[in-house]
Symmetry: C2
Subunit: 571 residues, 2 copies
C-alpha cells in the first residue's frame, strides 16, 4: 500500500515550525523494531505521526505513564463470521484497539460475487478503519457446490487489479495447488508480487513442499506446534488463529518460544459476536499470548509490525514518524484492555468503549437484503424410498470438530438419526439433496440456516417423521421470508430465529442483539428440540463444505470428500 | 518482485513424482525464520528450491556436514564504485556468495541519464545474477553541479514504471526533504508502494522526524550507535555499511546487540576492486559481524532474509520450497568463505572462485566509451590574478574524512598549496572552475580524474608553477584520449594511469588488472608527486560533491555547502 503523498505543511509540523494537531504526552512509546519503550511524546498532524518529542500542539493528551502501542492488525479474518455488517463490526473492533483487518470476503462472494465484495468495500470506506480485502481464490470451494456466483481466474485478477484487493486470499484448494490445477495456479500468479495466503490444514512434508513451491506464502490452519514449526522453518508465514471455534494460540505459541517472532502473526479468522463482545478482538489474542509466557513486547510485534510487514502495509504497525497515527494507549500489559484508541489521529475509543467517532452508519444496498431465492411456500417431501435390505451412508458429526465420518447403516436402524437436506437458494432451481445425519440428537422438529459454507445454500436438519418434515418446510419458508438467517421450529411453531438478512449471512442489527438472538436460538435447540450438540448451528453450517473430510452434503447430494466425488445415499 | 509462475512439472518434482535437477545432500540448512539448522537435503528443479528431503535426482552433490545458507543480498551499493563493468563485477560477487545487489546507478545516470541506466540494466540481464536497480533520486546532487544528464520527477517515475527500478534510491537531498521541496516530495511519492531509500548522515531529532514523515524508509549513512539506534527506534531501516572507505560495521553492530536484528541489513555501498578481491563482499561483512560478537545466525539474517524483506524480494533470501535456488555452501561460520555457490540452481563458484558459468561477457555499448567531451588539445591557463593584499578561500582536505574545511589564506602564503580545477566534460562547454586546495601535498605535477562525484566532470589537482599547469593540461588531454579514468603526470610525462572508459567511471579490463593499475597509480602519486594522502584519488573524487560540507568546487566555481550557495575565490 502506498503512503499518501506528504505535504510541505506536514513537514513544517514535523519540524515544530507550526502546531501539530495532537500531542500524546507522558507515555512510553513502543518501538517495534528494537522492542524498547521510549519515554517521549507522540506528535500527530493530519492523521500522521510527525515526530517524537514535545512540539507546539493544538491539543495535548496526558497518558500518565501508560504504554502507547501501534493499533492492532488482524492478519486474516472473515467479516461474515461475525454475523455483523461492517458498520457494527468496526466500533467493536476499534474499542478493542484493532484499526486494520485483512478480510477474505469469500462468503459474500459465494452469494453475490464481485458486486457483493464491491458493495462491502464501498460500505467499509465510510468507516474510520482499514478494512482491507484479499481476493477470494476458491469460490466455490469445489465443483460440488452451487454458489450464487463463481470467481474464476479473471475474477480474482479483477479483484486485485480493479477493486483494490491487496493479495490473494486463502488458497483452500490445496489438492488443486499440490497437483498443479491450471486455474488455481493462474489465480496464484495473478498476485504478481502481492501476497498469496494459504489454507493448508495438516499439510506437511512433500505435499507442503509442493504447496509452497506453487507460491503460497502463509497459513492460518495449523493445529500443532510441529506443523507450524515445520512450515516456519520452510519460510512460510504462520498466522496463529484464535477464533470462536478454532483456538490454536496456546498450542502454536510454542513455535515463538522455540524460534522467535519472525514470520508469525496473530489472527482471529472467525469470531462470533459474543466472543467479540465478551473477550475482545486482537487484544484478547495478546492477553492469551502473554498468559502463555511470551513477553508483551514479542506479543505486540505479532499483532502490529509483523502483520504490517507481511501485508506490505508500510505505513501501519509502528509508531515512528511517517506512520499513520493509528495508536492505542493500553491500560496495562496483562489484560491489554484499551485506555484510548486513535485512528488517523482521531480518538475513536475510551476505556475499551467506542466513541461516537467510531460509529459511521453505512447500510448495505437494498439488493443485498434479498438473497434467498426459493419458490414461495413450496412443499418439499424429504422422505426417501428405502427397502428394508437397503444400507445407507450416514454423515456422523462430532462435538468440537469440523471433521465428519461416514457410517453405513441398515435402513431398518435409522431410528435415532436426523434427516438433512440442502436446498439451492441462489437461482431458484428447486434443486435439493437429502441424506441422514447422526450426532445432532434432533429427532423431532427442525433447524435451518442460510449460513452454510461455502455456497451458503439452505441447510436443514430435522426428525424423520411427518411432523418434522413439515417443520423443515416451515423453517425453509421462514428463512425465505426473513431474507436469510437461522431458525428452530417444532410442531409447526417457530421457537427462535436470528435474522441474517445481508446475503443470508450478516445482520443489520446491533451486535448485542445479534449475540442475544444467537444465544436464545441455541437454547431453543437444546431445550425445545433436545439437540445435544453444544453449537448445533456451527456444526450445521459446515456440513455442506465439500472440502473437509469425510462425508458432506450439498444440493447435488452426498459428497465423498476423500474420493473427491459425488456418492449415492444407498451403499 | 513477482515470482515466476509455477508449472505443473515443477510441482511434480516437488512431490517427488519426477526427478529433480539437483539434490544437495548431507548439509545443514539454515532457516532464516527460526534461525535453526535443519539436517536435510535441498531439492532443486528449474532453478527453484522445490523441497526439503531426499527425492529422485539427476545430480546429487554431497556437502559433508557443511552449512547451507541463502545466497547474500547487498542492500545498497553502487556498481560504479567498483570501477568494474557488470560482467567483471558479477563473477567476483558470485565467488563471494552474493547473487543479488540493489544498486543505485546514480553515477552512470549523472553521465548518461536514463539511456546509461538502461544500458547497464540490459547488460546485467545477461548475467547469472540479480542486479536490481533503484531509481536515482538526486541527479544531479544539487543545482551547483553540471552533470551529463538530469533526472527530474518524471525520469524517476519512468525508471520505476518503465525500466523496472524496484524503489527510489537514496534521497541525498535531505534538506530538500526536510523543508518540503516539491520536486523531492514528488520523487518520493512516485515510489507508490515501492521502497524509498534514504541518505541522512547525522540527521537526528526533529530533522530526522521530518525526513521520516516525508516517507523515507531506510538509511545507510549512520556513523554512530546512537544515531543508528534512534533511527531504528523510529522505525527506519538501517543498512550497516562496510565499504572500502566508510567502515561502520564495528560501531553500528551495537544496535543489533541492544535491539535485535529487526530492520537491519548489511550493505557495501562503495567497494574498490582491491577490497573485493582481497576481503570479499557480503561474506566479509558477515565475518566482521561475527568477530564483533554477533551470532552467525543473526549475522546471516542481516545479509539474506532481512534485505529481501525490505526490498520486497519475496522469493529470495531464504531456503524454503518456492524460493529461488540461490544457495551458498559455506566453508565455515567464521571466515564465511564459500565452498559452493549456486544461482538459480546452477553452480557458479567453487572454493571461493568463480566457475566458467559465472562469466558471461556483456560489454557496454560503444557509445558508453565516449563520455569525455572536451575540446581536443585545448590549453587551460589555471593561473589566477591575485594582488598581494588578496585573501583567498582554500579547500582543506583531511586523511580519512570526506568532510572539508574552508581556510582563508593571504595571497602571499600559498606556497605549500595545490591548485584545483574542475572542467565540464559532458557538453563541451569549456566551462571550468578553479581554486586552491590544502592537504594533498602535491606541489609539482598533476593528478586528474573523471570519477568526480556526482557530476563526474574532470577534476584536476596540481602544483602552482608553470610546469604543473602544463602537467594539468596533459592530464586533462590524456583523460580525453583514453575515454576517462585517472592519471598522474609529472614534468610532461604520464607516470601512471587507470583507464575507466565506461562513462569515465568503470573499466572494461579484468578486476585484478584494474586493482593493479590503481595501486600503481597511487604509488606514483606518493613517490613521484610526493603526495601525502593515503588515497588521493578517493579524496579528489569527492571534492566536487556539492552536498558534503564545508567547501567544494565544481565547474561553476567554489561552493559553500553550509550556506548552500556559490562563493568567490577571493574573500
Amino acid at each position: 500500500m502506498a503512503r499518501t503523498p506528504r505535504s510541505s505543511k506536514l513537514l513544517a509540523a514535523s519540524r515544530g515550525d507550526v502546531e501539530v494537531d495532537l500531542l500524546i504526552r507522558g507515555g512510553k512509546i513502543f518501538s517495534t523494531a528494537t522492542r524498547e519503550w521510549v519515554e517521549t511524546s507522540l506528535a500527530i498532524a493530519d492523521g500522521v505521526i510527525v515526530g517524537w518529542g514535545d512540539r507546539p500542539a493544538k491539543e495535548i493528551i496526558e497518558v500518565a505513564g501508560r504504554h502507547i502501542v501501534p493499533a492492532f492488525i488482524d492478519a486474516h479474518m472473515h467479516l461474515e463470521s461475525t454475523k455483523l455488517w461492517i458498520d457494527e463490526f468496526v466500533p467493536l473492533a476499534l474499542a478493542n484497539g484493532t484499526t486494520t483487518v485483512i478480510a477474505d470476503p469469500h462468503e459474500i462472494a459465494n452469494v453475490f460475487g464481485i458486486p457483493g465484495v464491491s458493495a462491502l468495500i464501498d460500505a467499509a470506506k465510510k468507516q474510520r478503519f482499514q478494512f482491507l480485502v484479499s481476493a477470494s481464490s476458491c469460490v466455490p470451494a469445489s465443483k460440488f457446490e452451487s454458489p450464487g456466483a463463481t470467481l474464476g481466474p479473471d475474477s480474482v485478477a479483477s479483484l486485485l487489479d480493479d477493486h483494490g484487493a491487496i493479495g490473494v486470499a486463502e488458497v483452500m484448494n490445496y489438492p488443486g495447488v499440490i497437483y498443479g490445477d491450471d486455474d488455481v495456479l493462474a489465480k496464484i500468479a495473478s498476485a504478481n508480487g502481492r501476497r498469496v495466503d494459504g489454507h493448508a490444514p495438516s499439510v506437511r512434508g512433500k505435499d507442503l513442499d509442493a504447496y509452497l513451491t506453487a507460491g503460497v506464502e502463509s497459513d492460518h490452519e495449523c493445529t500443532t506446534f510441529e506443523e507450524a514449526h515445520e512450515k516456519r522453518q520452510k519460510g512460510m508465514w504462520i498466522f496463529i488463529r484464535e477464533g470462536s471455534a478454532s483456538k490454536n494460540l496456546r498450542e502454536l505459541i510454542k513455535t515463538v518460544k522455540v524460534g522467535g517472532t519472525d514470520r508469525v502473526a496473530l489472527c482471529t479468522d472467525d469470531r462470533e459476536p459474543s466472543t467479540l463482545i465478551e473477550d475482545g478482538h486482537m487484544n484478547d489474542c495478546l492477553k492469551i499470548a502473554v498468559e502463555c509466557g511470551i513477553s508483551p513486547e514479542d506479543a505486540l510485534v505479532l499483532a502490529t509490525s509483523n502483520p504490517a510487514e507481511y501485508h506490505q502495509l508500510y505505513d501501519l504497525g509502528s509508531l515512528g514518524p511517517g506512520y499513520q497515527a493509528d495508536v492505542v494507549v493500553l491500560e496495562d500489559l496483562v489484560s491489554f484492555k484499551t485506555n484510548m484508541v486513535f485512528h488517523r489521529g482521531v480518538q475513536v475509543a475510551k476505556d475499551n468503549i467506542a466513541l461516537p467517532a467510531a460509529i459511521n452508519l453505512s447500510p448495505p444496498p437494498t439488493w443485498m437484503l434479498s438473497s434467498v431465492n426459493t419458490e414461495q411456500k413450496k412443499h418439499y417431501d424429504f422422505f426417501i424410498d428405502l427397502d428394508d435390505s437397503d444400507i445407507v451412508r450416514v454423515i456422523v458429526v462430532h462435538e468440537n470438530s469440523l471433521l465428519t465420518n461416514e457410517r453405513h447403516t441398515p435402513a431398518t436402524q435409522l431410528d435415532n438419526l436426523s434427516r438433512i437436506a440442502v436446498i439451492e437458494r441462489h437461482h431458484k432451481t428447486g434443486r435439493y439433496g437429502v441424506g441422514f445425519v447422526e450426532g445432532f440428537g434432533i429427532e423431532r422438529g427442525a433447524i435451518a440456516s442460510t449460513v452454510a459454507h461455502d455456497a451458503h445454500n439452505i441447510m436443514v436438519v430435522g426428525g424423520l417423521d411427518e411432523s418434522s418434515n413439515n417443520d423443515m418446510n416451515i423453517a425453509i419458508e421462514r428463512l425465505r421470508e426473513i431474507g436469510g438467517g437461522q431458525v428452530a421450529v417444532l410442531d409447526g411453531k417457530i421457537l427462535a430465529e436470528v435474522r441474517l438478512n445481508v446475503g443470508g449471512l450478516m445482520s443489520t442489527l446491533r451486535a448485542p442483539e445479534v449475540a442475544a438472538q444467537l444465544r436464545t436460538l441455541e437454547e431453543a435447540v437444546h431445550s425445545g428440540l433436545k439437540g445435544t450438540l453444544k453449537e448445533p448451528f456451527m456444526t450445521l453450517s459446515f456440513l455442506g463444505l465439500s472440502v473437509i473430510p469425510d462425508l458432506r452434503i450439498t444440493d447435488l447430494g452426498l459428497i465423498d470428500v476423500v474420493a473427491f466425488d459425488k456418492t449415492t445415499l444407498k451403499v
